[in-house]
């Protein structure tokens, strides 16, 4: 099975204190530590596990600047077979549709049975998987938390739905799936994997290589543009209970009873 996993280099929120930049248009990106988007990492692990079972190849692809190559290399050290970097000044500040259009062009240069994205990335919009599927005219399942290969045409996929419930679907390939965290336990990168990919050449494709009109993507092609970033003002409503632990417990029980939380 030929699997393409779309990955993104994002600020590592466990390593950085994220602050809004002074112009209010973006977060402050100076000295940020970056890593692979967590959801994407689960998708790559799932792809590797599928290929381990049924054979095939895992390719990882990203849209980003030259530094985004490091996340491709990381995922290759983990076990992905190939990487493709989609990079062009014209791609900068693309909206979700722009990113999906760039990825679509890359997908059409290969032949993939299955395409995976993370359910969402740092911006939290969760658009790319669905848009990519629509542009490719392929079936799509979102928030996928289990995948079983039925045969070379069909997959059985589980989806996490509201209220902790589970839905099972059969989906025809080729298809696009957006992957939820927790679908597996992603393996760690070991030194042998790092050695293996350290000097591998990763192809870089720009707008002209992909046959993309520069005006249709990036800032020029974006129909959704960020207007403002800010930290919301804290509202009222929190009450700090004071006193000894016993006093606090008594007050808390009283409050819960008064509000109907305890009977």
């Amino acid at each position: 099975m030929e699997i393409l996993v779309c990955v993104k280099r994002v600020p590592d929120t466990s390593e950085n204190e994220i602050e809004v930049g002074s112009d209010g248009q973006d977060i402050d990106r100076d000295d940020l530590v970056y890593s692979v988007n967590e959801w994407d990492n689960y998708a790559v692990e799932e792809a590797i596990q599928i290929v381990d079972k049924v054979g095939g190849k895992v390719t990882v692809v990203t849209v980003g600047d030259d530094e985004s190559e490091e996340v491709l290399r990381r995922e290759m050290a983990m076990g992905a077979n190939e990487g493709i970097l989609l990079s062009d000044d014209a791609f900068e500040s693309s909206d979700g549709k722009g990113i999906a259009a760039i990825l679509k062009a890359a997908v059409e240069k290969g032949s993939y049975d299955l395409i995976m994205t993370g359910a969402q990335a740092d911006a939290g919009a969760g658009q790319v998987g669905g848009m990519l599927a629509a542009m490719l005219d392929q079936p799509y399942a979102s928030l996928v938390n289990s995948i079983e290969v039925i045969d070379d045409k069909k997959l059985k996929v589980g989806r996490e739905i509201e209220g902790g419930n589970q839905e099972m679907n059969e989906i025809q390939m080729p298809c696009v799936l957006s992957i939820q965290t927790g679908i597996n336990e992603p393996r760690y990168v070991g030194i042998r994997g790092i050695r293996k990919v350290a000097s591998v050449d990763i192809p870089v494709l720009g707008a002209s290589d992909l046959g993309i009109d520069s005006g249709s993507v990036g800032n020029a092609g974006a129909s959704v543009k960020v207007q403002d970033y800010f930290v919301p003002v804290f509202g009222d409503g929190a009450e700090m209970l004071e006193g000894s632990t016993e006093e606090i417990i008594d007050k808390l029980i009283e409050l819960l009873k008064a509000q109907g939380g305890l009977k």
Binding site: S14, R29, D65, A77, D89, R192, I194
Partner: protein, 387 residues
């Protein structure tokens, strides 16, 4: 797309390549998920689970500088620095020391041992299946290495070993001890290395030693009472062990520099965070010039010490003899970490004296660094002969 930073950067000599950065990221990821959530518990328990050796070994992070054919990664000195720094980022010097005891126990076997010895005593350790410790220090003397009292007397195909070793890192759980023994006359010329397996009759381990710091590492006294050790376990030539010990010390001292620098770095980071958050007399601690200047002095010392250590590491990596410089670096780095951990606790005030605060542990863990691997005073003796 060119990133903002890369377009303005001019090349200069970097110590760490992109491959080193990948290793750092991989180690950090592992430490964050497998070690950090448990480290408080392991510190209190006085040891970490034995399975951790296997987990780290499976990823190839044990002994990254050792040859690939033995299970290492044939890495350079900066690979080992990366691994050490990131293990230290767990905030537990004991964990780094415990997992790292093979880093001092294996080199004599790797560089002086036979192929059979490497198969038997190196490969399973780098795979994380066996634990290795180095046994040099004795109850009667640490720094005075030439005066080792543990004897090994040849008896046919065996050596009969008698004596004891103390302050042995990983000593409680070690499966094998790379042990300095006296096979010849008095002084430096009568010392050899034997690998003694812990299941040898006569090999016994005292109770776990309770230490000021490095709690997560098991440290022990080991007693050797008429241990019959196969003569084939002799590492290198008989009576040439002293020189092996001295060669081994260089890398150990470099790693102690690294530990001191990262200990100071973490103490500085904690102090900076706290000083920005904590208020006294109606303003943040950083609002006081005395605190700001203290932090500046700490940061300056940490920066200088780290650069000095990296510079020496680069020279050792290129094959240059750095005995004098590494001894200087060890004293300098430990002096810096002594001061910086002290000041970090001072900035935290009463909280810095409380268990559960990282600076409290760093302050305790730091104390061993200017004692282990050659004391400050021994370093000065070495330096005085070379300037």
């Amino acid at each position: 797309m060119q990133s903002k930073n890369s377009s303005v950067k001019k090349p200069y000599q970097e110590y760490f390549s992109k491959e080193h950065d990948m290793l750092r990221q991989a180690m950090r990821d592992f430490v964050k998920k497998e070690i950090l959530p448990n480290i408080e518990e392991w510190e209190e328990a006085g040891e970490f689970p034995r399975e951790l050796y296997k987990k780290v070994g499976d990823l190839g992070f044990l002994g990254v500088t050792f040859p690939e054919e033995l299970g290492g990664a044939s890495g350079d000195i900066f690979d080992s620095i990366v691994v050490n720094e990131e293990l230290m980022r767990s905030g537990s010097g004991g964990l780094a020391a415990g997992l790292g005891s093979l880093g001092i126990a294996l080199p004599p076997i790797i560089y002086k041992g036979t192929q059979e010895q490497k198969e038997k005593f190196v490969k399973p350790v780098l795979a994380g299946d066996r634990i290795a410790a180095l046994g040099i220090t004795e109850p009667g003397g640490g720094s005075d290495v030439a005066n080792i009292k543990t004897t090994a007397v040849r008896d046919g195909d065996h050596y009969i070993v008698n004596g004891s070793k103390t302050f042995i890192t990983s000593g409680i759980r070690a499966d094998q001890l790379t042990c300095a023994v006296r096979t010849g006359g008095e002084g430096a010329h009568g010392i050899s290395f034997l690998v003694i397996e812990s299941d040898t009759p006569g090999y016994s381990v005292g109770s776990k030693l309770k230490k000021t710091g490095w709690w997560a590492s098991d440290t022990a006294e080991i007693f050797l009472d008429n241990c019959r050790v196969p003569a084939e376990n002799m590492i290198g030539e008989e009576n040439m062990g002293f020189y092996t010990i001295m060669e081994n010390f260089q890398m150990e001292r470099l790693q102690l520099c690294v530990m001191a620098n990262i200990t100071a770095q973490m103490a500085l980071e904690e102090a900076m965070k706290y000083a920005k958050k904590r208020e006294a007399f109606g303003k943040q601690l950083t609002g006081f010039q005395v605190i700001r200047h203290k932090l500046v002095d700490m940061a300056t010392q940490v920066e200088v010490s780290r650069e000095f250590t990296y510079r020496i590491a680069a020279k050792i990596n290129a094959g240059t003899n750095q005995v004098k410089e590494i001894s200087m670096a060890k004293n300098f780095a430990c002096d810096v970490s002594d001061k910086v951990t002290y000041e970090a606790v001072q900035i935290f005030g009463g909280y810095g004296y409380m268990r559960g605060y990282l600076v409290e542990r760093l302050y305790r863990d730091n104390r061993i660094l200017s004692i282990g691997g050659g004391t400050t005073e021994i370093m000065k003796e070495i330096i005085s002969k070379l300037i």
